[in-house]
């Protein structure tokens, strides 16, 4: 293992050193192939990101695959209705490992402006793990590029071995998640409790807050 300082010095002299892990992560992050699907208006921004003006191809992600078998990045771009949620989860399950998820826009994160609607899922992270969240309604293409670069940094930091290795290198970690069923009143289950735990947040404007004022 070459230490960081020596490595920098050597690269200045024209000698490149690398490790298997770095090479592997470099390969993974430079060829992220997103799954070609959009759910609502955010998809328009996603399409704009791939076009010449914003040019996602610079990061190796220009190949939008029409089949989950060939994709390793899912950009959940738009409102996930409860009627659509099982399909989205099934698509995620059909993607081979390693797979990453970007939740794009307020709707995919939490339901957004439709949060209290009768047919809108309150965030796709209730059913499978999300790596990057982008707020915005819709987020601009720059935001998606930023999320993309954050994801690349995340992949760069992944370890091949050890207890912190990512899910796709861990044989015990499951890669399939429960596909919700259509129930009589709601999706069943309403959330995947192994993936999503309700955060106990201080709700703004509660009774105690009011009395304090």
């Amino acid at each position: 293992m070459v230490d960081e300082e020596l490595k920098n010095e050597m690269s200045k002299q024209g000698i490149v050193t690398t490790t298997l892990q770095e090479l592997y992560n470099w390969g993974r992050r430079s060829s992220l192939w997103p799954l070609n699907f959009g759910l609502a208006c955010c998809a328009i921004e996603m399409i704009a990101t791939t076009m010449a003006r914003y040019d996602m191809a610079r990061f190796g992600a220009e190949v939008f695959r029409p089949s989950p078998r060939q994709a390793d990045l899912m950009i959940v771009a738009g409102t996930v209705t409860k009627k659509m949620a099982p399909q989205v989860v099934r698509l995620y399950n059909q993607m081979p490992e390693p797979k990453y998820v970007i939740a794009m826009g307020a709707c995919a994160i939490s339901g957004g402006p439709f949060k209290q609607g009768y047919n809108v899922l309150k965030g796709i992270d209730r059913y499978f793990p999300v790596d990057i969240y982008i707020p915005g309604c819709p987020p601009r293409p720059e935001a998606l590029l930023d999320a993309f670069m954050s994801l690349q940094k995340m992949i760069d930091a992944q370890q091949l071995t050890g207890p912190n290795r990512p899910r796709h290198l861990n044989a015990d970690a499951k890669s399939e998640f429960i596909v919700p069923k259509f129930g009589e009143h709601d999706l069943e289950p309403a959330q995947n409790s192994t993936v999503w735990k309700a955060p106990l947040v201080q709700i703004s404007g509660t009774e105690t807050d009011k009395s304090a004022k």
Binding site: P86, Q87, R90, N93, H168, L169, N170, A171, S175, E176
Partner: protein, 123 residues
């Protein structure tokens, strides 16, 4: 000494095949070492845009479907041949124009047949 002329080609060919096999083998070894195999019932199911597949893929189509295909071909071929015809129209002699008209007539004949069979009626 014809053999020696081809020698570099053979060497290159061998190198190319070896390189391909080596990278495939490397991928296999990598998969063995690091990437655990994770299959599941949902992952291996048929891809239907996220929906569960219903019924059998081996179904029979009605012969009416092929009728539509033929009518599509009539229009398609017509469009493909009419465009160059229209571009070169001013330079045509009488004989060429007549030949093109006969060709069009054949296509129109197919259209008339379809019209008589009520294929073009959309309800």
């Amino acid at each position: 000494m014809t053999n020696s002329l081809y020698l570099p080609v053979i060497v290159l060919l061998c190198a190319a095949i070896a390189f391909a096999l080596f990278t495939l083998l490397l991928a296999k070894v990598w998969a063995k070492l690091y990437s655990p195999h994770k299959s599941g019932s949902i992952k291996n199911s048929i891809y239907e845009c996220g929906l569960e597949s219903v019924g059998d893929a081996w179904i029979q189509f009605k012969p009416g479907y092929y009728l539509y295909a033929i009518i599509f071909l009539v229009f398609d071929v017509e469009a493909v041949f009419l465009l160059p015809f229209a571009v070169a129209f001013t330079g045509f002699s009488a004989a060429e124009s007549v030949a093109m008209l006969i060709f069009l007539l054949l296509l129109v004949e197919g259209l008339v047949w379809a019209y008589q069979k009520n294929v073009l009626v959309w309800s």
